[in-house]
Amino acid sequence: MSSTPAAAENAREARGGKPPKDFDRPRFLRVLMGLFLVWTFAPIAVVVLFSFNSGKSLQNFDGISTQWYSDFFGDQQLRESLIASLEIALVTMVVATVLGSLLAFGLVRSRNRLSPVTNVMMLIPLVVPEIVAGVTALLLFTQIGLRLSLTTIILAHITFSISYVTVIVRGRLAALNREVEEAAMDLGATRMQTMRLVVLPAVWPAILAAGLLTFALSFDDFVLSFFTTGEEVQPLPVRIYSSIRFGVTPTINAIGTLMMLVSISTIALALALPRILGRRGQTVLIGKDAV
């Protein structure tokens, strides 16, 4: 069985077959990929570049300066906001991913009467406009007398992130081949072991993708956060939102760049974690390539 597309191409050519003129050509896709990266990175380049601008303008680059970064780090409230945003995003990511993955599993595998109702209930947050989510979350907290704080922001973020995780994980979960799990259990594995050693590694990329998406969404969120934030520390996007309407300042560009760096580090860490924690679960890996 051929393993890489390149080897397959060679094999086909060796057979004398014509390479089909199609989309499955690396070169065409490579160009597309290049263009895509240019398009997505263009504004990033502008943001990063102008965060080092010594002047205030967004049109002319006057010279290199890191003053905006020192301004940022010198401002206690901005630092607190950055840390708050990070905390919120991390907690949301962990909790929402766990809850959402479990929910995905339940929805795909269970056949009880609760399932259809839960399914609809899970989909509704996806159709609620953020404003409404924010206002009603605010009203909920006010009515039960819960004072607004980081906790309320986190609660709100998790609530509206679960659906994203469920939707993503479910896609991958449904395509799994159950026979592998059944084989494992026939061989003596308990349900928990099967979950850990067969199902989890197979679904892991989807869980990871969902987790990262949740992190990014939470870190960047404004509307929901605005309504559920207390009077003291606020997440960074809330701070930015009002200021940015007055014109983008280099400080804002610096904040944007910093947020990006923080996100990168967190994600790099998340990706590196499985490798660091060892390959125990990987040796029994039969899920991915099972027929």
């Binding site: 003129k21 599993f105 406009p129």
Partner: protein
């Protein structure tokens, strides 16, 4: 423990959370949608179903159609652009796979507003692109990129692209690449392979991505607010206006309920027919 019991239990934490923290706010939305605003500007519970007849005013039909149209365009573009990208990474990424995914996702880690304002700077009448075009002599007054429906859809695509790429990538990554090779041997050309092998195998991922892009896009208001013109008014702007300007929470809540109901019904129909189609295709 049987699998069913086990799976049933796993439903509980997530479902429980949603019931407590989501269903109740939803109930509040519903309750307020029948309410009124008192003189002090507070929304109070009452019984005023007229809020709903206001929602069905013919004035809003174009607004709704436009929102659905923009959202559909956004999904289409995200798919057209995002699928090949995900495909490239999953199939040809090799050892750089994770790096490429990271690169693709990276821009989405910068605050959306900041990115949009950077685009405004780039695309302004006197911005970077127009500067180049003017130097090349292709235009004198500058091309109007901003404040058009294209800018709004562009903003939406820019904001939601990651929602499409990630699920599709997850689906593509799962797929056994030897299936594609087998397909190529079986079918005459690449398009056939794609249609009969790749597409069905990744369909669930595409579905997930489409849902995650379409639904929020319909209710989006930021893109239209920052990049739109006088005729790009979307449902999201209408709703936002009720909460942020008019202070008319009841009407805003009524609009939201109707929008949500509409989207849910639409989704059920779409998913049902899509599911049926994919089954037939596979048969």
């Amino acid at each position: 423990m049987s699998e069913r019991r086990f799976a049933g239990l796993t439903l509980l934490p997530g479902a429980g959370w949603l019931v407590l923290l989501f269903l109740i706010p939803l109930g509040i939305t519903l309750a307020i949608s029948f309410g009124v605003t008192d003189d002090l500007g507070n929304a109070v519970y009452a019984w005023r179903p007229e809020n709903y007849s206001q929602v069905f005013d013919p004035l809003f039909v174009p607004v709704l159609l436009r929102s659905v149209g923009y959202a559909a365009a956004t999904v289409t573009l995200c798919l057209l652009i995002g699928y090949p990208i995900a495909y490239f990474i999953a199939r040809f990424g090799g050892k750089y796979k994770y790096l490429l995914v990271a690169l693709v996702v990276l821009p989405f880690l910068v605050n959306y507003l900041i990115r949009v304002y950077a685009w405004v700077a780039i695309l302004s009448d006197e911005g970077l692109i127009n500067g180049i075009l003017k130097d090349m002599g292709m235009t004198t007054d500058g091309v109007r990129f901003l404040n058009t429906p294209f800018a709004v859809v562009g903003g939406l695509v820019y904001g939601y692209m990651a929602f499409m790429i990630l699920p599709v990538y997850a689906a593509l990554d799962r797929m056994d690449s030897s299936l594609i090779e087998a397909g190529k041997d079986l079918y005459a050309n690449g398009w056939q392979t794609f249609r009969h092998v790749t597409w069905p195998a990744t369909f669930q991922g595409v579905l997930a991505g489409s849902v995650l892009v379409f639904l929020p896009a319909v209710g989006d208001f930021v893109s239209a607010q920052l990049l739109g013109g006088p005729d790009t008014y979307m449902v999201g702007n209408l709703i936002q206006q009720q909460f942020f300007e008019a202070n008319n929470y009841p009407f805003g809540a009524a609009l939201t309920t109707v929008l949500m109901a509409f989207l849910l019904i639409f989704m059920v129909f779409y998913l049902r027919s899509a599911g049926r189609a994919s089954e037939e295709a596979r048969a």
